[in-house]
């Protein structure tokens, strides 16, 4: 198994898919020079400017044109640069791409991967830091993926490219350089959570970079005598409801932690779904950003972050609450 970074892992998946299938191509601003995070570095040299295509600063056209090209038989990978800019193409994604197959009675498909680098990235402020995965999970027709490790960024990218549905693919831009082993033979599966740590005391559900935080919190908690089960959802639609429910049935305690705003976040979906099916030992907890905007000053930005200590404290309180 090779060790590679989160960014390289997705790039490898794309390169392999492009070698296998001539219909796959990538389009976005500055891709010819490797893309803003170098996620495409070197690909133009291998695949040429038509398949690693630059684009005007026209997010609506990037999204809309890629969709048109998908309808006639290509398989585009669309680069939105920052998830925030994808909001300039919301009609195209929500009203067109997500709905076309249904509205047209199954006549068309939109086999597309829509890459939207998400999340806080030191001092990028309110227009370059958003995490809106909850929005996309709410939209019928879309598949939503939030990988957190090189392994999953490889395997899920492969799966996303192979998928005939439009996949909103949210990479976290804070972890491009995160390294890890990648087993290229292990297939990515939508709706299959990754068990990051086994434990019987408390279930911690997370995704995207926050899942890495959740895993390390698990280690910290173990030192304090609490065995957390850490579940990385990997994909939010479909999501592995069964895995979470089985875990909470075992632990009786649920924490959901995510970087995005807590109010109306996907954590609410997880907590609500579990609450509808499992009687828990103590009330569940959600940890997410307060309903405020991402600020530029680092100390202000830090006020919005879910931290290891916050998760650990929540777990400890849940253990103590019951003991009391």
């Amino acid at each position: 198994m090779a060790v590679m970074s989160y960014g390289e892992a997705a790039k490898l998946a794309i390169a392999e898919a492009m070698r296998d299938d001539q219909r796959v191509w990538c389009v976005g601003e500055d891709l010819g020079r490797g893309g803003v995070f170098k996620q495409y570095a070197g690909l133009r040299e291998e695949f040429g400017p038509d398949r690693i295509s630059d684009a005007p600063i026209s997010e609506a056209a990037i999204m809309g044109a890629a969709f048109g090209a998908a309808m006639v038989g290509t398989r585009p990978i669309v680069e939105m640069r920052f998830a925030d800019f994808a909001l300039c193409a919301t009609d195209e994604l929500i009203n067109q791409i997500a709905k076309a197959r249904f509205m047209f009675g199954g006549q068309s498909r939109a086999p597309m991967v829509i890459r939207k680098p998400m999340g806080m990235w030191r001092s990028s402020a309110a227009q370059h830091s958003q995490s809106l995965e909850a929005w996309y999970a709410h939209i019928p027709g879309l598949v939503v993926v939030c990988p957190s490790t090189p392994q999953d960024n490889y395997a899920m990218m492969k799966a996303a490219i192979a998928c005939d549905d439009p996949v909103v693919y949210l990479e976290h831009k804070n972890i491009w350089a995160l390294e890890g082993e990648v087993d290229t033979a292990a297939p990515g599966e939508f709706g299959k959570a990754r068990l990051r740590r086994q434990g019987a005391d408390v279930t911690i559900v997370s995704w995207s970079d926050c899942a890495n935080l959740a895993e390390s919190t698990g280690a910290t908690l173990a030192e304090r005598g609490i065995n957390a089960e850490v579940i990385d959802l990997v994909s939010l639609w479909p999501w592995d409801k069964r895995a979470v429910i089985e875990s909470v049935k075992k632990t009786g305690r649920l924490i959901v932690a995510h970087e995005s705003v807590a109010v109306g976040g996907f954590g609410a979906e997880v907590v609500a779904s579990v609450a509808q099916e499992v009687a828990m030992r103590v009330p569940p907890r959600r940890l997410g950003a307060p309903r405020s905007l991402v600020a530029y000053a680092p100390n202000l930005e830090d006020q919005l972050r879910v931290t290891e200590e916050m998760i650990a404290r929540a777990a400890q309180e849940m253990m103590e609450a019951e003991a009391a």
Partner: protein, 331 residues
């Protein structure tokens, strides 16, 4: 249109198509108004038939079009089955979109009709992309993208046309200018000139009388041949007039008094084509028979639609998505 070089045989074919569009929409309106069988909004292109007919005759079945909320005519001319279209308007099984789309989302991918659209101008970037896909796949199809005058004020107009220019795509953009955007005179909300906009985006622009089916056909034929021969994207500004309201239930009282009546009398493309054919020696009875046949065809399509059942309830869970489909047990 003068009679020089006029091909009456072709002219009759065009009349047939225009009459079929008109009859389809009259049947649809009948179904909506008299029988209350069409539940959603439908937008009629009565008075604009020459654009669809003249524009699309040079396309092959494999070529692509994208259309708007006012897309019955385009769809029909591209080759869709009127019975399937009518079933779609009535939301029935056998409708071209299985009853899921209705008039505003009418589509027939089998004949290269990639969809009407309920969002003004959204089809512009999509069409540019279809042409982009054709180019990437090495195909030789041409794409025709039709939108209204109001659509020229939305951002995708700029983004989509620039895209086609940058990537040199085999596409013809057609502004079907019927002077109105819903209840607003488009000129009042438009600065500058629509054709000039496309010109400034690097495209060759052709301006035509969209109510003259012969002129439409001649101009479109030339342009599409140029594009097919490997030329650049082009733009056509076709002036026409919407004889009816925005939707079938809009009385269109906002128009200047007498405008619609005058336009109906002077510029109806069907009447004009009949005059031309008459001058070329075609008997009125023959043309009346064409109109009658069209009406019979379309009212028969309506009867077929009325007889069709509703789609099966659980089709509402189909064709949403494969992965995480609502049809799966788990959800």
């Amino acid at each position: 249109m003068s009679l020089r070089n006029f091909d009456a045989g072709k002219g009759l074919e065009r009349l047939v198509l225009m009459e079929r569009i008109r009859a389809f929409e009259e049947a649809a309106r009948h179904a909506a108004v008299e029988e209350e069988l069409v539940l959603g909004a439908i937008h009629l292109s009565i008075g604009q038939e020459a654009v669809a007919v003249g524009l699309l005759e040079s396309l092959a079945r494999e070529d692509y079009i994208t259309s708007t909320h006012r897309g019955h005519g385009h769809t029909l001319v591209k080759g869709a089955d009127p019975a399937a279209m009518m079933k779609e308007l009535l939301g029935r099984e056998g409708g071209c979109c299985g009853g899921k789309g209705g008039s505003m989302h009418i589509a027939d991918f089998g004949v290269g009709m990639l969809g009407a659209n309920g969002v003004v101008a959204a089809n512009i970037t999509i069409a540019a992309g279809a042409a982009h896909g054709v180019k990437l796949l090495g195909g030789d199809q041409v794409v025709v993208c039709i939108f209204g005058d109001g659509a020229a004020n939305r951002g995708p107009f700029l983004e989509g046309i620039n895209w086609a220019g940058v990537f040199d795509l085999p596409i013809l953009f057609v502004c079907e200018d019927n002077r109105y955007s819903a209840t607003t005179r488009t000129a009042d909300m438009t600065s500058g000139d629509v054709g000039a906009r496309a010109g400034a985006l690097g495209l060759n622009v052709t301006r035509v009388d969209g109510n003259d089916v012969e002129e439409m056909a001649a101009a479109s034929g030339e342009i599409i041949a140029r594009i097919r021969a490997g030329g650049k994207p082009e733009f056509m500004h076709a002036r026409t007039y919407r004889l009816d309201g925005h939707t079938y239930f809009d009385p269109a009282t906002y128009r200047p008094e007498g405008e619609a009546e005058r336009m109906r009398a002077e510029t109806c493309p069907i009447a004009r084509q009949r005059d031309l054919l008459g001058a070329a020696g075609i008997a009125a009875e023959r043309m009346d028979a064409i109109a009658r046949a069209a009406r019979d065809e379309m009212f028969a399509a309506l009867e077929a639609a009325k007889a069709a059942p509703w789609p099966a309830d659980d089709t509402v869970f189909e064709d949403v998505q494969d992965v995480g489909s609502p049809a799966l047990e788990a959800f």
